[in-house]
Symmetry: C2
Subunit: 476 residues, 2 copies
Amino acid sequence: MKVGITASKSDDFSEWYTQVVLKAELADYAPVKGLIVLRPDGYSIWESIRTSLDVKLAARGVRNGFLPVLIPESLLGKEKEHFAGFNPEVFWVTHSGENKVGDRLALRPTSETLAYSLYSKWIKSWRDLPLRINFWNTALRAEIKSTKPFLRTSEFLWQEGHTVHACSEEAESEVAAILELYRETVEGDLAIPVITGRKSEKEKFVGAVYTTTMESMMPDGRALQMGTSHFLGQNFSRPFEVKFADKDNVEHFAWQTSWGLSWRLIGAMIMVHGDDKGLVLPPKVAPLQVVIIPISYSGEEGAQVLAAAEGMEAELLKAGIRARTDKREELTPGFKFHDWEMRGVPVRIEIGPRDLKDGSAVLATRHDGKKSKVPLDGAAVNIEEELCRVQTEMLGAAKRALDGMIHDASSYGALTKAVEGGGFVRAAWCGGLECEEKVKEETGADIRVVPEGGAEGACIVCGGRAASIPLFARGY
Amino acid sequence: MKVGITASKSDDFSEWYTQVVLKAELADYAPVKGLIVLRPDGYSIWESIRTSLDVKLAARGVRNGFLPVLIPESLLGKEKEHFAGFNPEVFWVTHSGENKVGDRLALRPTSETLAYSLYSKWIKSWRDLPLRINFWNTALRAEIKSTKPFLRTSEFLWQEGHTVHACSEEAESEVAAILELYRETVEGDLAIPVITGRKSEKEKFVGAVYTTTMESMMPDGRALQMGTSHFLGQNFSRPFEVKFADKDNVEHFAWQTSWGLSWRLIGAMIMVHGDDKGLVLPPKVAPLQVVIIPISYSGEEGAQVLAAAEGMEAELLKAGIRARTDKREELTPGFKFHDWEMRGVPVRIEIGPRDLKDGSAVLATRHDGKKSKVPLDGAAVNIEEELCRVQTEMLGAAKRALDGMIHDASSYGALTKAVEGGGFVRAAWCGGLECEEKVKEETGADIRVVPEGGAEGACIVCGGRAASIPLFARGY
Ligand SMILES: [Zn+2]
Ligand SMILES: [Zn+2]
């Protein structure tokens, strides 16, 4: 395997993606088809997402819990529509040691059924509501298509939140608040802009009343679902008997929500920001934010350079910046530049003898390749600002790219043509399943998201009265 | 179910334990036998342990990663002795959807085999060493005996660390350093004293050269293993071909360690510190450290009391203390006292109209039931000190209890009698398997830990020359 990225993002997007994942050491394939492992840099990005979301969830009163991975078949099958949706991709445990287990055990494809069978025991009265619990775990859904790290794997890291409310209004406002909090995380930390709205009836979560979603567009013109928040109404509280007694001691079925996002966000981040040199990491989630490279090693001069590099590293660490000096003497500065560029480190500092003389260092930013001088004195403040600028500029650039990939179509012909070119296509729709299915069949595009607001004019498929203006696209 | 704990710790330890776990809402039973779920207070304690350990591990250069839960049977079977040890309790996946999977898939009982099959790809030269990765996940081992939350479950939360080194000395010193770091976590955060040393050959981890362990003693006289750190030597690097090229480009098999601790620490914490009123939590891991209870609600007076309570809550939160005011008007202060005592909150603050008048509040500590006055002004500093005192005293009390449960036996008769009475029994041993097995068969006691240092005199079983003075006990 050659060291650097040998595929071009524009020429062979899929091969480029795989090379970046493997060579930047974010992930690797596990021995079982469909499964991947995360190496420390990959997992560190997930930890950053987790920490950021945890803070926001805690502020809303959401607490974390733990659910086991095994769900008995009888329980998973309790909500029929839900079960039918997941059944084909469920992994089944049939034996423990030499013994056959009675009821087959499913590896959780999602935990609604398990969580709600417990909630029905835990919730007795209005005092117990709202109940808001989140679970950081994995979900398992057998993938028969070829493995794609972060995007198509049979086990994936995610969080699933499950809340219970006394009235539908509170539950619906929870659904919206969580989606907004997801958006803040994805735009704020991963620098990926998203479009929010609802899924169509056809595309909603099996068992939900409706699903809200945030969608983004990848550089290859295919849409990616970035997270969903579902209003479950009483669809689960009835079969699972999640009931509460109100202040007058009258029993009611509760109103519920569930919501989740997964490590596919990492896949999106790679695709949206990466380039032919490899990964480009937004500073907020970069495992290493600043790499310091001493340019000289020999003699007195080398010692001074190394001392300056280590001094800066200490200063940056003290300021809470994730920084490291690359002291590998056997490698050239040029090799190191390429290596850290491939790994997406947002800021590189070069310190050589000449820099030392005028008390400065060279600062290079990964996302735009620009170089500037930074004074050695008080470097932390400057570099902190620089990291902030990088984060902002990366989101800005991604926003411009997204905007450039949203097209309008006022006829079925225009829609077909636009879908072919990739990106989102905005077109009026009557809301009918037939029209949605015709588009899917003939163009391969789904309705990815129906933004808020009504529509005027006619459905571009059937000519009927338009009800909304969804975004169509081929998706991952 | 009655609200409070109805079983006595001294009369029916097992029933008491289960009631505390369920009524303090740490955990609950899942629908599948052998499995439990963690409710937010239970999971929060695990999160505290995780955070504390993560900081210490990061300081040693250990980073976190992710491994999938499915391991192919052929890979799990690669180290024969290891496989034979785990095989009887492995859950097997045989189907995904309607399709039979080829090679049966094991739910990870532990991840040595999976991790090392990857390490063999990742490690090429001395530059890649040492490699230190830790995984926070669950392990699955089918339990046929009755479920006991945190102590005997078929899936449990744990961490498993796997390191690789160029020489055996470095690996062995890693084994020791990790055990020390475990001890700091358990003694420092959970206030549980431990005894460290090695496991006997019979009790070591299957596949290890040797296992080091920390053991503690529960109030019912049974020992509990609190965490283990294994020196694997080259036992796994040979079958898994974990090799590295040294500076002269000569290939060597690497030296490895693995180590883990699990949520049974939470079980130990409940048993060691709890009392007939319920849970007693060490402040460092308590989800809620201080509960503030307003004593009056009515009229002008009530408003003043509530304002004072909320003022203190804000001050404590600002100081980083986990505090909350219990504003439930429909419940009496007495009910609340009992409720929070059952949940183990370390410090309770009571604020009533009379307290307000002299600018103070009543502070009650859970672990010793003592009450004192605390000035409302600058309460955070006082309460922070109080939490520190509680933490220290709880460890001190637990240390005294442990010391009181270590007995010496200088004859086989004395050993048998001492084992019967519960606790650790220290007795000279020749090191022979036969003597160890005789003790186990006739008394039910295992060798829990062999502390460092040699021994004089004779083995109390066979009269042969003593090699060490292990601690015998019946265990969990
Ligand atoms: Zn139509
Ligand atoms: Zn002997």
